[in-house]
Structure formats: structure tokens, C-alpha cells
């Protein structure tokens, strides 16, 4: 039985775990039908031309983990931003770990999707927001919707800001020979409220993990959301990350994606602007080696006038790694005075590394500023010689140039401890010690 058949037939078993009378279940049922009709995306589809799931889908993934697995904090401390105090929503093999988590209901709700989907007090919010931004067509998103049961639920009421950032971390223990996870996150930031989130998926062994994650973020008027995705998973982990962001007037949502790890990572990052004077920022640093593959597919849909979007993705590709950047910007006819910027710069440090980069602009308004640029290059030999001639060894000089290259993406990270952490991850990834932080 292939994975698609296994998933479709598991849906009935899944129904034993959830309340089939709940209105949400109609959404799930509709979603599994869509997935059954479409199946997993193949390379024949334009959006998946450069990313193949074929070899991964041959793995016989467990869909429901058998038992609750425990982890001690000291085993996984390094994956947390432990230098500062944070709220934590932690899952082990897809199951919530109250022991490692720190949730709150003190003025804001930072808790679990499973509660939000079952408890009457959340019903009103769920009815308004659940699956309202996520695609009902895209097959992997509908697959997640069909099995949506657990994940993070965050609700920040008007004028509120949580005291500390929120970390959402999924651990895979390797207790299953291979495991498929489908977390579902819902984040609502009401008018003039603020939120900072760090999301991470971490496999602790070399057993294959396939994560198909969906996150919906709703930013109301003047809300500010900073979302950081730290993708530094083990080399046998596959992540398909589907993020849907709906923004209203004057809101500002900034998503940073740091992709250093994993076997295959696909980021589908979608912004929908439903209002005026909205700012959307999408930034990414990708550093890959071995046979790693990362595919960034971004979409920014400008539907109203006077909005901005900024995209800046930097990629460094070594060994036989491959990268994809596909940045789509749609500016509707009514969306005059849109400022949409997109930049994708890549450095190939090996002859066998590959990058496919493609801007895709669909502009129907006539009074807009849209710019895009993509570059693919090698490291500047003159710059390397300059650094070497000052006594900096070639390896460190290379790293320094990489740092310089990635620098302006890190500049906008507003959590200093996270910035430091990313600095270290970059240094580790490049295999050097640097005498300073940027």
C-alpha cells in the first residue's frame, strides 16, 4: 500500500480519536476527499518541478505514534532559546508534552489546538478562523486539514502582547522506525496586539520523519507579528511547511526562515493582504551542504492599495545541495501604490550544487513599484585574497564573506538572543569559529 492509500484508509481510524459531530469534522471530510482526488504533488506540476517527494513517499511512515514518549529537559535543552524566558508549546512525536511546555491563559491564550478544537469556549473563534486562510485546493494542505487535531493555538486579544516570545517545538524521538507528523497551528493576533514566535522541528535520531505542517496566522488591524522558523533538523528529516498569513489594515507581519538542516524542506509561505497600509516581510537564509534540498515558494497577494512587501532570500549552496526559490507576487488591479520588492541572491560554493530561482510577477495595477532581482554567483576571489592577505585563513575568510552575505537578513531579527543563536548556527554550518557576533 502506498502512502496515499495508507493515509486515506487511515482516515476512518482517525475518526475514532475525534468528535465527528463537531462542525470542524465536515471540513476534515471535505479535505480528505480533495486529497484523495489529487494525491501527493508530482514533478509534473509546475510548482513541484524542482522538488520531488517520490523517494520520500516510498518510506512506510507510521501515521499514528503508538505511545506517549517522554524526554528530559536536559536532553533537548539546546533546542530551546534557553538564554531567555519563553512560553513553550512542545510536542513529542506529535503528542503534547505538558512537562516540557509552558502555556498560559493569562490575558492571552497560548495553548493547544486540541483544546481549541474541542472546548466550547473556543468555538466562536474556531468558527471564524479555522481553515479560513489555508488553501482548500493544495493537496498537502488539505491532507493536513483532514488530520488536523493537534498543534499550537495562540490567541492574542486586542492591545495585548505576551510577556515573552512563544516557542513551538516538535521533537521526533525515533521510537517509531519512521514517522509522519501533521501539526496544525492557528494564530490570531487581534487589533494592535503583538506576538513573537519561534518554530522548530527537531528529529533526535536518524529515523526518517516526514512533517507536513500547516500554520494559519491572522493579523488584525495594526497587529505586529514576528515569526521565526529555525530549520536545522537532522539529515533524515523532511519538512513540508505550509504557512498562510492573512493581514488587515496597517498590520505588519515578518517571517524569517533559517534553513540549514534537513534532507528536504519545502516552504510554502503565503501572504494575503486584506487591507491598506500593510507591511509584509519575508526573509530567509539558506545554507546547505551534502545532498540537502530546500525549496522556498513564496506568494504575496496585494489586494488593496498602499501596501508594501519586502522579500530578501539569501542562499549558500555547497557540495551536492540543491535550492529552489520561486517568488510569486500578485498585484490586483485595485491595489495601486503597491511597493513590492523581491531579492534572491545565491552563492554556489561547489561545482555540483544547484539553484533554481524564479521570480513570478503578476501585476494588474499600473501605479506600482515592483522590483525583483536574483543573482547566482561564486565567492569573490579578490575579496578572499584581501582577507587572506590580512592573515585570515581561507576557510575563515570564506565564512566571513558568507556572514557578510547573510548579514542584512539577520539585521531585522528583533530577538538578540535568537540572532546570536543563528550566528552560531551559521558558523557551525560553515565549520568555523568567528571572533565576534554580527
Amino acid at each position: 500500500m502506498d502512502l496515499k492509500e495508507k493515509l486515506v484508509s487511515s482516515f476512518m481510524a482517525f475518526e475514532n480519536y475525534v468528535d465527528v459531530e463537531h462542525p470542524i469534522h465536515d471540513i476534515r471530510t471535505e479535505a480528505i476527499k480533495n486529497f484523495e482526488a489529487k494525491g501527493f504533488p508530482s514533478k509534473k506540476e509546475e510548482a513541484w518541478k524542482y522538488t520531488s517527494l517520490n523517494s520520500i513517499l516510498k518510506t512506510d511512515f507510521s501515521i499514528f505514534p503508538k505511545e506517549e514518549n517522554a524526554l528530559e529537559y536536559h536532553q533537548v535543552k539546546k533546542y530551546f532559546l534557553h538564554e531567555i524566558d519563553t512560553y513553550k508549546i512542545v510536542f513529542i512525536d506529535g503528542i503534547y508534552s505538558s512537562y516540557l511546555s509552558e502555556t498560559t491563559h493569562d490575558g492571552v491564550d497560548i495553548c493547544l489546538m486540541s483544546s481549541a478544537l474541542t472546548k466550547p469556549m473556543y468555538k466562536q473563534v474556531i468558527d471564524v478562523y479555522f481553515n479560513k486562510a489555508a488553501s482548500r485546493e493544495e493537496s498537502l494542505t488539505t491532507l493536513n486539514t483532514a488530520f488536523s487535531r493537534e498543534g499550537a493555538y495562540i490567541y492574542i486579544p486586542k492591545n495585548k502582547a505576551p510577556k515573552k516570545p512563544v516557542e513551538i517545538i516538535h521533537f521526533a524521538t525515533g521510537n517509531e522506525a519512521s514517522l509522519m507528523l501533521q501539526p496544525r497551528n492557528l494564530i490570531i493576533v487581534e487589533e494592535n496586539a503583538e506576538l513573537q514566535v519561534i518554530e522548530r522541528h527537531q528529529s533526535l535520531t536518524h529515523n526518517p520523519v516526514l512533517t507536513n505542517c500547516v500554520t494559519e496566522i491572522f493579523a488584525a488591524q495594526s497587529a505586529i507579528v514576528d515569526y521565526y522558523k529555525v530549520q536545522n533538523d537532522s539529515e533524515d528529516a523532511t519538512l513540508i511547511d505550509n504557512t498562510y498569513i492573512a493581514q488587515k489594515d496597517k498590520s505588519s507581519v515578518n517571517v524569517h526562515t533559517f534553513s540549514f538542516g534537513g534532507k528536504l524542506t519545502r516552504n510554502n509561505l503565503n501572504f494575503y493582504q486584506h487591507g491598506e497600509h500593510i507591511e509584509s516581510t519575508l526573509k530567509g537564509v539558506t545554507i546547505l551542504g551534502e545532498k540537502q534540498h530546500v525549496d522556498h515558494h513564496t506568494l504575496v497577494h496585494h489586494t488593496q492599495p498602499n501596501c508594501e512587501s519586502h522579500q530578501d532570500y539569501k542562499g549558500i549552496f555547497g557540495e551536492r545541495s540543491t535550492g529552489v526559490f520561486n517568488g510569486k507576487i500578485i498585484v490586483d488591479k485595485i491595489a495601486q501604490k503597491t511597493n513590492a520588492f523581491q531579492q534572491n541572491n545565491n552563492v554556489l560554493i561547489s561545482d555540483q550544487a544547484t539553484i533554481n530561482t524564479k521570480p513570478q510577477l503578476e501585476i494588474f495595477a499600473d501605479d506600482v513599484k515592483c522590483s525583483h532581482g536574483c543573482t547566482i554567483g561564486q565567492l569573490d576571489e579578490d575579496a578572499l585574497f584581501y582577507l587572506q592577505s590580512r592573515g585570515i585563513p581561507r576557510k575563515e575568510a570564506t565564512a566571513l564573506l558568507m556572514y557578510a552575505f547573510a548579514n542584512n537578513v539577520l539585521e531585522s531579527v528583533r530577538l538578540p538572543e535568537l540572532k546570536k543563536r543563528i550566528n552560531k548556527l551559521i558558523a557551525n554550518k560553515l565549520g568555523v569559529r568567528l571572533g565576534f557576533d554580527l
Partner: protein, 250 residues
């Protein structure tokens, strides 16, 4: 200190240096002059170890060691410094961070620990004052958006920080106005001692009014065609390079 013997070097099939001989001793200042395209900058790059150039014949010896297999960074650790004609812009790395990295890497190569932060700050302050460099300048990205004069002054600041045994100044005077030239020359003179040496590469005699050379060499078509004392520079200024070209042919 530096002994260059019958040095031939070039890129691919093109030979640029065609048998250079040069001996530099501690405490000396040598000027290398010559028209454009004569091989001056190539000589500087080859001494500093730029791998684009292949040495086909001859040798470079620094303090008794043949440099052929020595990487550019190791040459820097041994005390060779090249002030670039066109310093490279490195956005995102401040002058201070760059100097910290450079100094600590050199220390590491000599088996020393990192320089303590307060000592580093003191050194930076001292050397930036020597070259009349504004503190704000030091937190800017290396060479990014610097004027021609600022870049050259920054090169000499780096030289002051690294205290090399042999400094090669490649066209450090180009792009400098007279005030900047004085500051740079003054900086170089203050760093001079009986233990270190300087090679000044220049097209014009102007810089040599401030940095007085012990020897002047004229390079033409990849060879040193005439050597002399500082008077040779004046003579060149007077008669032009054509005079020497003719003399060589004759």
C-alpha cells in the same frame, strides 16, 4: 629580509614578470617606479601570494624561507603586508570586527591566545589617532562607500594595527589629495624602524617627497631596468619614462 631572484611570473601563457632581482634589508625603504602595465602591481601581488599568478622561474625568499608553497595568510603571519591599490569592499563586516579577526588569527597562528578586549580597544584607539581616523569610521562596513582617500587611509590603519616586518604599498598615493597624502605618509614614517622595511610602488615621484626612499628601482616590461638612489626618482620626474625606455633599447 626579502630576496627575489630571477623571478618570472604571469597568468596563463602571458609572462608579466621577466626576471626580477631585488634585495630588501631591514630598515630600508625601496621605491619601485614604472609606467602603467610594467608589472609593478603584479610584483606586489606575487610577493603577497596571490594565486592567480604562476611563478614559472626564480624564487622569493623571506627571512631565509622560500615562499613558493606559503599561502597568503601564512605570509601575513610571517609579517608581509600589502596595502591594496583597490581595497575590496566587504559589506556587513565592520572595520573593528575585521581587525579583531585579523589580529586574533595571526596570534592563533603564532600559538597565542586572543588579544584581551581592552588591549584591543587601546590599540585601535592609538592607531586610529595616528592616522587621524574618526572613531565612527571604525564601525562602518569595511571599505563600503569609503572615498578613495578613506580606503587608502584605512589600508595604512590596518598596517599600523598588524605591524608588519615588510610593508608593500601599492599605489597608495593614487586617489589621495595632498592633505590625505601627508597623513598617510606621516603614518608610514612613524611606523618605520630599523627592523622593518617598506616597498613603495608608485607611478609618480610625489609620494617620495614624504616617504624618502633609500633605493629607487625602475621597472619596465617586467624587468628592473635601472636602480639608484632617491635622485633617480627626480630624474625620472624630469625626463619621463620614455627616457629610460630609449636607454634600455639602446
Amino acid at each position: 629580509m626579502l630576496t627575489i631572484k630571477d623571478l618570472h611570473a604571469g597568468v596563463e601563457d602571458k609572462e608579466i614578470l621577466k626576471g626580477i632581482n631585488l634585495e630588501v634589508k631591514p630598515g630600508e625603504v625601496h621605491a619601485i617606479m614604472g609606467p602603467n602595465g610594467s608589472g609593478k602591481s603584479t610584483l606586489a601581488s606575487v610577493i603577497a601570494g596571490k594565486e592567480d599568478f604562476e611563478i614559472t622561474k626564480g624564487s622569493i625568499n623571506f627571512e631565509g624561507e622560500d615562499l613558493e608553497e606559503v599561502s597568503p595568510e601564512e605570509r601575513a603571519h610571517k609579517g608581509i603586508f600589502l596595502s591594496f591599490q583597490y581595497p575590496v569592499e566587504i559589506p556587513g563586516v565592520s572595520v573593528t570586527n575585521f581587525m579583531k579577526t585579523a589580529i586574533n588569527e595571526s596570534r592563533k597562528a603564532r600559538g597565542m591566545d586572543d588579544m584581551p578586549a581592552n588591549e584591543m580597544l587601546k590599540l585601535i584607539r592609538e592607531k586610529s589617532e595616528l592616522l587621524d581616523i574618526d572613531r565612527k569610521f571604525l564601525s562602518r562596513s569595511l571599505n563600503e562607500g569609503f572615498s578613495g582617500g578613506e580606503k587608502k587611509r584605512n589600508e595604512i590603519f590596518q598596517m599600523a594595527m598588524l605591524e608588519p616586518k615588510l610593508a608593500i604599498l601599492d599605489e597608495t598615493d593614487s586617489g589621495l589629495d595632498i592633505d590625505a597624502l601627508r597623513i598617510v605618509a606621516n603614518g608610514v614614517n612613524k611606523l618605520k624602524s630599523k627592523d622593518n622595511a617598506v616597498i613603495v610602488i608608485t607611478h609618480y615621484q610625489r609620494l617620495l617627497e614624504y616617504i624618502i626612499p633609500d633605493f629607487v628601482h625602475v621597472i619596465h616590461d617586467g624587468k628592473i631596468v635601472k636602480s639608484g638612489t632617491k635622485e633617480l626618482a627626480l630624474e625620472l620626474e624630469d625626463k619621463g619614462y620614455d627616457w629610460l625606455k630609449k636607454e634600455t633599447v639602446a
